[in-house]
Symmetry: C2
């Protein structure tokens, strides 16, 4: 147990106490700030228990008293209640997101605010995992030094990787960013950085970002669909990330939408990814020319930017490519809505910025494939926040793993 663990009061708690701690942290996450009596009412535990548990959490530095704000209405009603909130300075989180063409490294406080971020170009599926880890850890050290925070306050490193990541072992079973299977990337980064490291599927990390800092503060269940080089999903059910029985849960990109359909880079046919991901769109566009190597992540990025512009400028052939991709993804999301009936769907990842034709076809397909029509409208939100979502996701992953 290191010094920082002691400050956070890390020890084996009894289950009811742990449950109460979790309930209070969850309630403050959702509400932002709340008085003790509100916590008692919301959670249904006695005011005395709330007082004991919040004292512990205050002592541990996990929560703090809300900085006083002049509020005339409150003052008029008498002595203002002290409100509690999660303490953004309880520690810091390092985030690493590995994509096909870059690694994004970030440092956030525990409210998800970014203190520093760097993007390093990599050719992930050609560089060795150890090499990628080395250059990421160098950047981590640089960002921590630049931001002048105490490295002892870094609670951990959260890593997001597209593909099948075994949880909690951190073994990357299969991912397009690595040329090998079964890469123990958690271990590799942990050894090099010296920080506790947590690794998860990148879409899961996005879902955690929504849970802690986004729509998950309003809705207990959130479905996130990510589109970029691949297509992924993350699912929070009743405030909890859904991981499945073997830690492979919430995979979406390789579900089949056309049995025997287009060839996917996974080797199977008819996967959603084979229609809606960047490489699938570029593959179709190669017929129009000029042809690009869809395996070259940087060429692919540039091509996507160009194609989006062409579609938005009215090029009918390119529009039809985005329409097809949108229709396939919209149908796939309609399937997820059938299966999961979520209160909200968030579309995230690089392709939350795409051609107008993509989004209109996507919405049309979602509506056309809903059995109940207008009764089953889904609140679809486009999160075009870019790389920030990964930094917030890393912070959320570290919060989940270390704070509660």
């Amino acid at each position: 147990m290191n010094q920082h663990d002691q400050r956070l009061g890390r020890h084996i708690p009894d289950p009811v106490r742990a449950q109460n701690r979790k309930a209070i942290v969850d309630c403050l996450r959702r509400r932002g700030a709340a008085a003790r009596i509100e916590l008692s009412e919301q959670i249904g535990i006695s005011p005395a228990t709330v007082t004991i548990i919040t004292s512990e959490l205050l002592e541990d530095g996990v929560i703090r008293e809300e900085p006083a704000a002049p509020d005339r209405n409150e003052a008029a009603r008498g002595r203002p209640r002290t409100r509690l909130e999660l303490n953004p300075d309880a520690g810091y989180a390092v985030g690493i997101k590995i994509s096909m063409h870059q690694a994004a490294v970030s440092l956030t406080d525990l409210s998800g605010d970014i203190l520093g971020a760097e993007t390093i170009p990599v050719r992930a599926n050609r560089d060795a995992p150890e090499w990628i880890a080395d250059i990421c850890v160098q950047q981590v050290q640089k960002i921590i030094a630049d931001s002048a925070i105490d490295p002892a306050l870094v609670l951990g490193v959260g890593i997001g990787i597209p593909g099948y990541v075994e949880y909690p072992s951190g073994l990357v079973r299969w991912a397009p960013v690595f040329s090998e299977r079964d890469v123990p990337f958690k271990e590799i980064v942990e050894q090099r950085s010296g920080f506790r490291t947590f690794i998860d599927n990148d879409a899961n990390m996005t879902a955690l970002a929504e849970k802690w800092f986004g729509v998950g503060r309003t809705f207990p269940t959130v479905l996130v669909v990510t589109v970029e080089h691949g297509v992924g999903m993350g699912l929070v059910v009743n405030e909890k990330l859904y991981r499945g029985a073997h830690g492979f849960g919430a995979e979406f990109g390789h579900t089949k939408i056309v049995v025997g359909g287009a060839l996917c880079r996974c080797g199977q046919r008819g996967c959603i990814e084979a229609y809606a991901s960047d490489y699938a769109i570029a593959r179709e566009a190669n017929i129009l020319g000029p042809s690009v190597d869809t395996d070259d992540p940087i060429a692919l990025q540039n091509r996507m930017r160009q194609l989006i512009r062409q579609a938005d400028d009215g090029d009918e052939a390119v529009i039809s490519i985005f329409e097809r991709a949108g229709t396939m993804l919209g149908t796939g999301i309609a399937n997820l809505v059938d299966i999961l009936d979520p209160p909200v769907v968030v579309l995230s990842g690089a392709r939350a910025q795409s051609a107008r034709a993509f989004f209109s076809s996507l919405r049309d397909a979602m509506e056309a494939n809903s059995l109940l029509g207008a009764d089953q409208t889904v609140d679809l939100r486009i999160d075009s926040g870019g790389d920030e979502v990964w930094a917030r996701g890393a912070a959320a992953l570290v919060l989940e793993e270390t704070l509660i």
Copy 2:
């Protein structure tokens, strides 16, 4: 509050007490029987709290002391511990399952054992819901009278219906068994029977049956796929039936497996149901002749029996029909496994009895569409228990709604 409600100690409990009650009932459901000290260890609440809560549950009649059984080993270790178990005689549940061609009415005790059952032929989509309710309620009264139980001990009626059932209102938004939309079937049955009535999607009810009396006693998460006239699914996540945000959750039959594919009776194209359900199989077989009316539920049942026999006897054309249905359903289940990564999948409903070619194609397609191959093998179980599953599902629904 009626007399029976009083016997069961129904009143507004404080949340922690309710949580402890639920934890103890859940633990006894999973383990079958357990001593108080085992409950304390398993759930992580103090022995004193276990003693208080189990006293209440004993007084309420929800649990009982396990009938003494001579056990030499136990006796040899000293004074035997009294073990507690759920009390199967705490009350009774009436079940009604509406299919296209029949209504199955049952009476069970709370361990899911069937005291009486009747099947009434109906032509569900041609008969008015009120008429179906009338003949079901007549049967319910007859079964209760025949079994000589005290009607005051009937805790409720559980009804399973294929289609979109709004929960907990019991409004049937859309179902193939009714020719109208928005049928308030819960109200209709409640008025006629005088019993508290609970209504749910039939596949949800099967999932509850698995939770209370089947594989759900071993696995906290269970995926049930039902195939008969339609294709459905039910999902238990962490001991809790997953209903989705609008109560429409866990729909499977109308997810798309071939965009723009075969026409489904819902009016859309490419639904799994349009390939794997009874009517889809019969529709293909009509090309071989003799043609049957796939809208006629009884003709369809007979035709299915005949086709299964023909396939198992080696008729290549009929085998190819079952192979296609199995491939489509297996691919659809592989999609669910990708999305949900369940520890176990149960195939239930009438078509858990089908041609051998159906099951071998289904298993092949599940394996071929799994990205991780052997690492992701799914424990697929075929529950060919027939109509009993509906009776147990009704008991489980009533248990969920009244006991905890």
